[in-house]
Amino acid sequence: MAPVIGYWRPRGLLHPIRMLLVHTGVDFEDKVYPETSRDEWLKDKESLGLPMPNLPYYIDGDCKLTQSLAIIRYLARKHGLAGTNEEELIRTDLVECQVQDLRLALIKLGYHEYSEEAREKYLKETLANHLKLLSGYLGDHPWVAGNKMTYVDFLLHDTLDWHLFLDPTCLDGYQNLKDFLARFESQPNIKAFMESEKFLKWPIFGPMSKWGYDDAGSKLRFPD
């Protein structure tokens, strides 16, 4: 039986995991819980054998995991997408945490603080600072770890992609980040998936968010 990943419909915390599985070419099943009601998840929550029930989850036989970063790290080790030497491990650990800070910052904006003024401030201060440091750290490496693609590239890609909805021009000063996105999206399995109808662009956040769920939030980037 193929492994199952379970999550709400919006991209949220699951998307980098899904992209990684697509990239590896393994079969997997997507268990999608409708974001409009907790009923279906609450029925499953205590009966799946998850030690600490939560979404997303990953179930493959006896392997039952929660916590999105624990899941992606496990899959990375399994599929050769983890760092293999000390330098790669330091780089991936560091950028995993840095990207997580940036993800949480956008989640905070989208769920709690969103206004035009807050958006402008976020773009000018929070995002600008993060992008400058990430771009500097990536340098002319093709991938975060160096020459090897790792799970952190999936986290970075997703996070940058989120921000393109907030401001489609935000990467304009960072050619190496734009090149990174293009390189990532040209990986064959990823490219095919992104061009298929299975690929969900939006929403990125849940219905309780002020920005990130309603279609209006996607119009800057995709006006049609």
Partner: protein
């Protein structure tokens, strides 16, 4: 070798976020690593001036300037989990089997969620009002940790790992917030005592290097002294 987050000032040592640095210190002490503890003290209210840090922040050649930082010659890391993992790998404290590594990763993230909930409470101006709600919900989280630990000695399993340094500190903080919170979870109480009984930890906690207060910085509503 310098660990970074704070500079030892004269008497009152007020750190920016003791929480994130303490597990690092505990790990350095446990592994017998010599280190220098640089502590930054923020100013008094109402401004809580942080210029002692901001003045230095961009001169340290950190790729992602932040506190805590860890500097060891040319190696300069930030992000407390990245620092913990670096030190842990050197000493085999990052999970010895695949099963342990998975448990370590799950607990690192569960602990972060647990910590974030506590920090949100402690720094909230309505701390007093929110405290009782927090304490009402606390047992459900402790129950999960208690079940996940089970009768294993450590959270990874048979072997001590860096997440035990994080979880010890978090559970200890909760016993300061609510002294009887572990009474229904004897395995968690046993876990804390077992951690404190580790020789190097016991020695550290008895020394004058050990700082168990303050938990948070001066702007917090709880644990700021």
């Amino acid at each position: 070798m310098r660990s970074g987050c704070e500079k030892i000032t004269a008497s009152n040592v007020h750190t920016f976020i003791v929480q994130l640095a303490q597990p690092i210190r505990l790990l350095l002490e446990y592994t017998g690593t010599e280190y220098e503890d640089k502590q930054y003290e923020c100013g008094p209210p109402p401004d809580y001036d942080k210029s002692c840090w901001f003045g230095e922040k961009h001169t340290l050649k950190l790729d992602f300037p932040n506190l805590p930082y860890y500097v060891d010659g040319d190696l300069k890391i930030t992000q407390s989990n990245a620092i913990m993992r670096y030190i842990a790998r050197k000493h085999g404290l990052d999970g010895k089997t695949e099963t342990e590594k998975v448990r370590v990763d799950i607990m690192e993230n569960e602990a972060m969620d647990f910590r974030n909930r506590l920090v949100r409470l402690c720094y909230n101006p309505d701390f007093e009002k929110l405290k009782s709600d927090y304490l009402q919900q606390l047992p459900q989280y402790l129950e999960q940790f208690s079940k996940f630990l089970g009768d294993r000695p450590w959270f990874a399993g048979e072997n001590l790992s860096f997440v035990d340094f994080i979880m010890y500190e978090l559970l200890d903080q909760h016993t300061i917030l609510a002294p009887t919170c572990l009474k229904d979870f004897p395995n968690l109480e046993k876990y804390l005592n077992q951690f404190k009984a580790l020789a190097k930890i016991k020695e550290y906690m008895a020394s004058d290097r050990f700082m168990d207060r303050p938990l948070n910085n001066k702007t917090a509503k709880f644990g700021n002294a």
